[in-house]
């Protein structure tokens, strides 16, 4: 092997080591002594050099020197990048315009934030929070809520069936029944949860969404109380200046029933935000409450819808796509 070939092979070996440059300081030190140490590869080259003829020496010597410089430079650059800041930290030369270190940020899903906010509002006026099953029997999801089999009201909610008499709940109202079966009045609860509808997925409907149900049962409860709590909620959630409309509607488990719209300045139209009403006496009968003594109201709203209106989101699917470019905005 000629001296030039030896120089070449040291360079090659160094390149290979650069590619897998260690991050551990001790390994770096070992690598340093492999090339630059007293018994290192460069030292070996100088030993070879000393054995050459005087005629060959100058040229080979130059090559070894420039290799040494080159290796030193590369090595320093690599260690600098690992050992610490890559730029000058000398006080006088600090570039304060540089961005800070890249800190990985997390985020809380807009539906979670919306849910937490809504829960907070109702908790602050004395509502407790309860939960219930998503896989539900027909009785709790429909029959007990005054939606008998073969009733047109069943068309209002397309249902996923798990078994003949077991469904994925179509609303959180099933928990109304569980609560009243398990507890004595008076009651004041909100019930958040995931619900399902067997509907084609589009920008405005998804096969599942989240609801918050409210239930209040006491001796003297009126439509005025219902309107009052919802007005309070709407103003706290959407802002003091929000215009709200309370209009008659129909739900099998409330009578009288109502829907609440808020005025959307941008779209110039009323946007429906929730359904509500006075608990239907048939529902009370089904859970064994005396409907001549106890009265109550119930309401249910979609968390997605609230979040869409509040944040100006126009496609419900975005919530379930979880694109980082979406998530990082909240």
């Amino acid at each position: 092997m000629t001296i030039l070939e030896s120089i070449g092979s040291v360079r090659e070996s160094f390149r290979a080591d650069l590619d897998s440059f260690p991050t551990d300081q001790r390994e770096i030190d070992l690598l340093r002594s492999k090339y630059f140490g007293r018994k290192g590869l460069l030292a070996d080259l100088y030993i070879l050099l000393s054995g050459l003829s005087n005629k060959e020496k100058p040229k080979a010597g130059q090559s070894i020197n420039s290799l040494k410089k080159e290796l030193q430079k590369e090595f320093d650059r690599k260690t600098a990048s690992i050992a610490g800041p890559k730029h000058v930290t000398n006080d006088q030369l600090l570039d304060l315009s540089l961005p800070g270190y890249p800190i990985t940020n997390g985020s809380i899903h807009p539906l979670q934030q919306t849910l937490d906010e809504i829960k907070g509002i109702f908790k602050s006026v004395g509502f407790k929070v309860a939960y219930g099953p998503e896989i539900e029997d027909d009785y709790h999801n429909f029959e007990a809520l005054n939606i008998p089999k073969h009733h047109p009201a069943r068309d209002m909610q397309d249902t996923f069936f798990v078994e003949d008499n077991v469904v994925l709940r179509t609303h959180t109202s099933n928990v109304q029944i569980h609560l009243m079966e398990e507890r004595e009045p008076p009651l004041r609860y909100i019930v958040p949860g995931r619900v399902y509808r067997n509907e084609a997925v589009s920008y405005k409907s998804y096969c599942l969404f989240h609801q918050i149900e409210g239930l209040y049962v006491d001796k003297n409860v009126s439509m005025g109380d219902l309107k009052g709590i919802l007005e309070y909620f709407v103003k706290r959630f959407f802002g003091e200046s929000t215009t709200m409309r309370f209009r008659p509607s129909f739900f099998p488990f409330t009578e009288p029933s109502a829907e609440v719209d808020i005025w959307d300045e941008k779209r110039e139209k009323w946007m429906e935000i929730l359904g509500c009403g006075m608990v239907d006496p048939n529902v009370f009968d089904n859970v064994g409450y005396d409907s001549t003594v106890w009265h109550g109201y119930a309401f249910g709203m979609g968390i997605e819808r609230m979040a869409m209106l509040k944040y100006g989101i126009d496609d419900i699917r975005l919530f379930y796509q979880n694109d980082v470019r979406f998530l990082e905005q909240f």
Binding site: L30, Y101, Q112, Y131, M223, E259
Partner: protein, 788 residues
């Protein structure tokens, strides 16, 4: 449902603009929308003066269009273009849709100054086969938007299922009248007297199932002439969105839209048995319905001629007995069918018709008779028919209106507003209830037969409230009094976990809990299938949160976000003895956990960056007693189980490539963890107890052991900590080094130890003694030696 304003005006005086009327009906509970006035600029009503073949193109026409002032040459590609047509003409400069601007053009050598539009180009419908041809009466030169809005005299009402009575113009007019305190101008067709029920000689009605068909009214009209319906009727039908067919069909549709009662008209001569028998279908029977579909019957209610079905009750007539151009004599059916029966038929046949929508919500049993007389009257008037005196009224199951007691007390409690006696009286009688005051605070009310939704006291209170106006109900907001807040939100702790996770750099996801069968079976078993899935992609409930998260990683990589830390708190669903829904916390990491910057190089996620985050989470949640141990797990190439005390609560590791491949995920190196939440939630109930902070100094020492390469560092740490006595408060590895100089199969590990006493400043000798103990124990137990 579309309601025509001109039609309503037959029964009630309407002065307000359509939009105001829509608002009023909405506030009465009939959610209504007035069509929006369309805006078009640069598009006018034009007339085609000339339409000739384009000299250089077979399929194009060269037209001359006028806007009343000027004439324009226009090249048109529509096959239906013709002279004298009145059309929507977009001039140069007009904009169609979002950004289609009409410009001057030269098409196959001919200049074109504008465009004659199709309905699709105008955004009105999908019709694009030809140009839109307007009414001949349209005024040339009018803005096209104005032309359209002059034809928009209708409302769209989204009716709730409890109001079948409002599925008609008279019904809607009645609502307006009640609200405005007026009366509608409508008298039902007069019942006719007859000496002898002649029709009984030529027709017999037999009801097999009186529960399914409580009432069937029928009669015959002879010598009718089938032809077009008169203009007034066609216009009203069209304004309500109904296409005109012929006078006979139109009469039945007209009566339906007028008073809401469905009727059916048979060709009498095609029922030679002169018998109508109403019964349940037998399995295997067929009937060809009017829409020319062969309907396979199972147990639907059908109208038969005594032998075979000739119509599906409440849904649709049969083709065989249908009225045709040649029909001479007709049989009128005006029945009241049981709502549930009709709904079942509609469901089982997958049909929904104008008739079935009304029957399944509850038709008017008395309306059956009224509708009969109305049809007879119109057949005479508009088809020159001769009524066969009489009417068959088979009414085996009388439907009686129930009396309802309404009390002042309940009105006051529920309404929360002051509804005076006179208001209640007026409202209920305007709604055509029969009311009697019984004592001071009680009414005895009988609702009209067309209001099947009024059954109980609360139903009447709702009537009063909605007519009074929900907007006038006074809002009560009084939260005096104490509420028992002892019951805390059981999911409060989830919020704490979410906050901790987001603090650790994870982004929270909400994922679909429905998935396909393959995915549901990939990382879990006993998936719950849907009986009626939306699609095969969403046929099962998920058994693990992993697939959704992994697919989300993939989605984000594809969209340019290669570094993603995601988590979800959600349920897994499994069958078993009982269906279960179990909360899990699952997270995934991919890419760099520290990204490259001017300050530093990137660092890739590793099993240890994952483990660090999981440890930090438990630390943040103040859950102690967490330990990790290496485990073989189906999800991971290599992984750790996570235990709380002695019970395993989850696992973490590097996800197997085969799983990623199975889910079509184009990424390697995804790390993940999965923890069942219940255990954490329970552990978080422990109240944190403060332990005193030592005021004496801490002393740090390093110890460096040369160990067998395979020795677990954690085992050494643990042993050191136990060997160091009370004064040793922490041990952690800070350096690992392997080199041939140490000997084959050896490694050197440096541990940093911290000593501190709670009661005094430590002396050198005490620390040295502890370190000697440690050296001795480690050397003995691990074949290790201390390195200088």
């Amino acid at each position: 449902m579309r309601v025509s304003i001109p039609w309503l005006k037959k029964y009630i005086n309407i002065k307000q603009p359509t939009a105001e009327l829509a608002d009023m009906l909405t506030m009465l509970g009939l959610e209504s929308d007035a069509p929006k006035k369309p805006t078009f600029s640069g598009i006018v009503v034009g007339k085609i003066l000339k339409a000739e073949k384009h000299p250089n193109a077979d399929r194009l026409s060269l037209c001359v269009v006028t806007d009343g002032k000027e004439e324009y040459q226009v090249v048109c590609g529509a096959p239906n273009v013709d002279t004298e047509q009145i059309v929507a003409f977009a001039k140069v400069g007009a904009v169609l849709g979002d950004d289609f601007k009409i410009t001057k053009a030269k098409i196959r050598g001919e200049r074109s100054y504008g465009m004659i539009c199709s309905e699709r180009e105008l955004g009105l419908s999908d019709e694009h086969e030809g140009i839109m041809v307007l009414n001949e009466s349209a005024k040339i030169g009018t803005n096209f938007g104005d032309y359209l809005s002059s034809n928009l005299h209708y409302l769209e009402i989204d009716l709730t299922p409890n109001r079948p009575d409002c599925m008609s113009h008279v019904g809607v007019a009645r609502e307006i009248a009640v609200k405005t305190g007026t009366k509608i101008n409508y008298t039902p067709a007069a019942e006719r007297k007859f000496k002898k029920n002649e029709v009984a000689d030529i027709l017999s009605i037999k009801i097999d199932d009186k529960n399914c068909c409580p009432r069937y009214v029928a009669g015959v009209v002879k010598n009718i002439t089938v032809g077009p319906a008169p203009d007034w009727m066609r216009e009203l039908l069209e304004s309500a969105g109904q296409r005109s067919i012929n006078n006979i069909v139109d009469i039945s549709n007209y009566v339906l839209m007028e008073m809401g009662h469905p009727t059916h008209i048979f060709d009498y001569d095609k029922i030679p048995s002169q018998t109508i028998c109403i019964r349940k279908a037998k399995k295997g029977e067929h009937v060809m319905s009017l829409d020319e579909e062969q309907r396979k019957l199972t147990d639907e209610l059908v109208i038969t001629d005594g032998k075979k079905p000739i119509a599906i009750a409440g849904l649709m007539g049969g083709l065989e007995s249908a009225v045709t151009d040649k029909t001479k004599n007709v049989l009128i059916e005006s029945a009241y069918f049981d709502p549930i029966t009709i709904r079942r038929s509609a469901k089982s046949l997958g049909m929904s018709t104008e008739a079935s929508k009304r029957f399944e919500r509850g038709a008017d049993p008395e309306g059956a008779v009224n509708a009969y007389w109305r049809v007879v009257e119109l057949l005479e008037e508009l088809a020159g028919g001769e009524w066969v005196p009489g009417m068959i009224d088979a009414y085996p199951k009388k439907i009686k209106q129930k009396q309802i007691i309404l009390t002042r007390e309940k009105i006051d409690i529920l309404s929360g507003c002051e509804l005076s006696d006179s208001f209640v009286n007026a409202t209920l009688s305007n709604l055509e209830l029969d009311i009697k005051k019984d004592g001071k605070n009680k009414w005895i009310c009988t609702p009209p037969s067309f209001r099947p939704d009024l059954e109980r006291e609360v139903d009447l209170i709702e009537e009063c409230c909605r007519v009074y106006g929900y907007d006038k109900i006074h809002s009560n907001f009084h939260y005096a009094g104490l509420y028992d807040l002892a019951e805390v939100d059981p999911e409060d702790v989830l919020s704490k976990i979410v906050i901790a996770m987001s603090g650790l750099g994870f982004r929270q996801c909400y994922l679909n809990s429905l998935t396909d069968e393959n995915t549901a079976g990939l990382l879990g078993n006993n998936a719950i299938p849907m009986q009626n899935p939306l699609s095969s992609a969403m046929s099962h409930l998920r058994t693990s949160l992993y697939p959704g998260l992994l697919q989300t990683v993939n989605h984000n990589i594809r969209n340019g976000n290669a570094n993603v830390n995601l988590f979800e708190i959600g349920k897994e669903y499994k069958t078993g003895k009982k269906n279960s829904e179990i909360y899990h916390l699952t997270g995934v990491l991919h890419g760099d956990w520290i990204s490259k910057s001017v300050h530093n190089d990137e660092q890739r996620q590793t099993i240890h960056s994952l483990k660090g985050k999981v440890e930090a989470l438990f630390n943040r949640l103040k859950i102690k007693n967490i330990s990790f141990s290496t485990t073989e797990h189906t999800h991971y190439k290599y992984g750790l189980s996570i235990a709380l005390g002695k019970s395993v609560i989850g696992h973490c590791g590097k996800l197997k490539q085969s799983i990623l491949n199975n889910l079509d995920i184009n990424a390697d190196e995804i790390f993940g963890f999965d923890i069942e939440l219940k255990s954490i939630i329970d552990a978080m109930k422990n109240v944190v107890k403060y332990s005193a902070v030592s005021p004496y100094p801490k002393v740090g020492r390093d110890m460096n052991f040369v160990l067998d390469k395979n020795t677990k560092t954690a085992d050494i740490s643990y042993t050191v900590l136990n060997a160091g006595g009370q004064i040793l408060i922490s041990v952690k590895p800070v350096d690992i080094f392997q080199h041939k100089s140490l000997g084959d199969n050896k490694k050197s590990v440096t541990f940093h130890l911290e000593f501190q006493s709670a009661v005094k400043t430590l002396e050198e000798a005490e620390i040295n003694s502890a370190m000697n103990d440690i050296t001795a124990i480690i050397s003995k137990q691990f074949d290790a030696k201390l390195r200088d």
